[in-house]
């Protein structure tokens, strides 16, 4: 599926003065896929077809990201994003859902699992931000207010493409990178992404550390074990802190494990959502 097809399948929900775009495919128990920075819901395009065979797959673009609201003057923190997911679930009539999340989307998911536990059936986080693992240097720099003036949208995309390449085990093709970054190719998109980066705040994961042992939702932690952005040691710590959590290391995968090893990741997630044991030689 190319990004245009994905975009044209997105639905929209108005939440107060803001709106979010989201994919809604398949039937069955709902699973919400939450992307990270600096991408959008298209991150999940390779995983969606497999999951949609057994689940209702919902993949929102977080506020300020992708084709959700990119206007000015609203909070883009992971705390606000978790509240947004909560409000959006109400809006579309979903009481509980499985949550599958990556990068800062994982931070949103951890906040949902600790602060809105009634919303979460099963939790799967992938190379997630947690504790003090973030923001990584590149995003810290990108979120500086002067970035707006220093980088045109075109230069920002060139820089982000270079950075993103390090998130893959095998060099991705240009078309994939372009598709992951396409919402940010305009000046408005660039500015929105800078604001998103400026809103990254470690305190929003460190403050829930003490709550992690209280998570009751069955939890799977998938980790592209060669990730340079979010090191696997954080996954190990999460597996120790969340009761019953299973850590699965995905070989030959870095940060974007669902694109490095789409079949393996789809298999693990599908099995986990069905309540089956996730079989792997690399389980941590």
């Amino acid at each position: 599926m190319n990004w245009r097809e994905f975009q044209s399948m997105q639905r929209v929900a108005q939440l107060g003065d803001r709106f979010i775009s989201y994919l809604d495919e398949g039937t069955g128990e709902p699973v919400i896929l939450i992307h990270g920075i600096p991408v959008w819901g298209y991150l999940w395009h390779a995983l969606t077809p497999a999951l949609a065979k057994q689940n209702r797959v919902l993949a929102p673009d977080l506020l300020g990201f992708g084709y959700s609201d990119k206007s000015d003057c609203f909070d883009r923190s992971i705390a606000r994003q978790a509240e947004m997911i909560d409000a959006w679930m109400d809006k579309i009539g979903i009481e509980r859902a499985h949550i599958v999340a990556h990068d800062i989307g994982g931070g949103v998911a951890l906040r949902l699992a600790t602060l809105f536990p009634h919303r979460v059936m099963r939790l799967c986080v992938m190379n997630t931000v947690c504790y003090d693992s973030w923001p990584i240097e590149a995003m810290l720099q990108f979120g500086h207010p002067e970035t707006r003036r220093k980088l045109s949208a075109a230069s920002a995309i060139t820089m982000l493409k270079q950075a993103l390449k390090q998130g893959f085990a095998k060099s991705p093709d240009d078309e994939l990178l372009d598709s992951l970054l396409v919402p940010y190719t305009t000046e408005v998109g660039k500015l929105s992404l800078i604001r998103n980066a400026a809103a990254l705040n470690t305190n929003l994961t460190t403050e829930i550390t003490a709550l992690l042992p209280k998570i009751e939702a069955p939890t799977l932690i998938l980790w592209g074990e060669d990730d340079l952005f979010q090191l696997v040691k954080y996954g190990e710590r999460l597996a120790r802190d969340i009761p019953g959590a299973q850590l699965v290391r995905v070989k030959d995968a870095r940060h974007f494990l669902m694109l490095d090893q789409p079949d393996e990741v789809a298999e693990h997630v599908s099995a986990f959502l069905k309540g089956e044991q996730v079989e792997t030689a690399h389980a941590g």
Binding site: Q7, S8, M9, Q10, R11, V12, D17, F19, S21, Y22, Y67, K70, S71, D72, C73, R148, R149, S152, A153, A154, T185, T186, E187, V188, G189, S192
Partner: protein, 303 residues
Amino acid sequence: MLGFGKQKQVTEYEADGESERVYHEIKQTLRVTGINLNFRTWAGYEKFFPAMWDAMRPLAETRAFETAADCVRAEAVRAADKLLRLENQSRAALGESQAYQLRAALDLYQYINPKLLVFTSAVKLALDGAQPERGGKASADVELIERGVPARMYPMEMVSSEPEEERIKELFEDIKQTLSLSSINSDYRTLALWPDYLSAGWKKLKPIVQGDEFKRASDNLRETARKLAHTLPFPVPLSRERLEELGEDADEIATTTEKFERLLPSLIINIALFSLDWKTPETLVQSPFPARPRRNAVQGGAR
């Protein structure tokens, strides 16, 4: 070909110093999420631009100015309603979210373009040495409208004026050639976020804009804007002499301003034509973002 002066446009991203200050004030005062081609072009005249804005700002925040723009919008919709409908079939392929955003983008331009025309007409009047007939009212007698961008207004997102995608490049060239533009307007650059939609819409629009009925409607709209600019409550302390004192090329600025005044009516009608595919004329004659009086807003009037 309508050239917009010799100066380079100043994009929002490039603006600094006085341009940045004025861009901020424009967005707050005109209640808009971005800076249109008029202002980006005027900003190329770096002494003129802040002087022009400081002269115009007291007018731009009045109810009279907002009402004048409302009249222009309503006339444009009525004129567009008499023309052929675009009935752009490609809207069906947009999907729910993109259709929602496209409608929001049309609302943005439906709102701001009539304000730009009245604004431009008032600047032109001043540069021609004419002043509003009722100019000179005490500011205390004039109602002001609230400041700030309406919460649900779409950001003025647009593709580059020099797009990489070949089909958009060709489309922009055709629009520029047909409408005798030297630069592509923000409106078309925004609609190019949905290239299939713009392409199909432009195919329908092109013969319409070349017709006599469209030209008459554009001329009438320009006349209306000029008349309304004449009725605004304050004089505009701006003149060719003032521009010369500032060391600016007054003739070139006057010519550029006149070109914008010539261009904007057709743009307003075009946006009305695109919008008529989505909304009824009765809805479109209303302002998409009505402004509350500033005093009530300060006193906590209902949202």
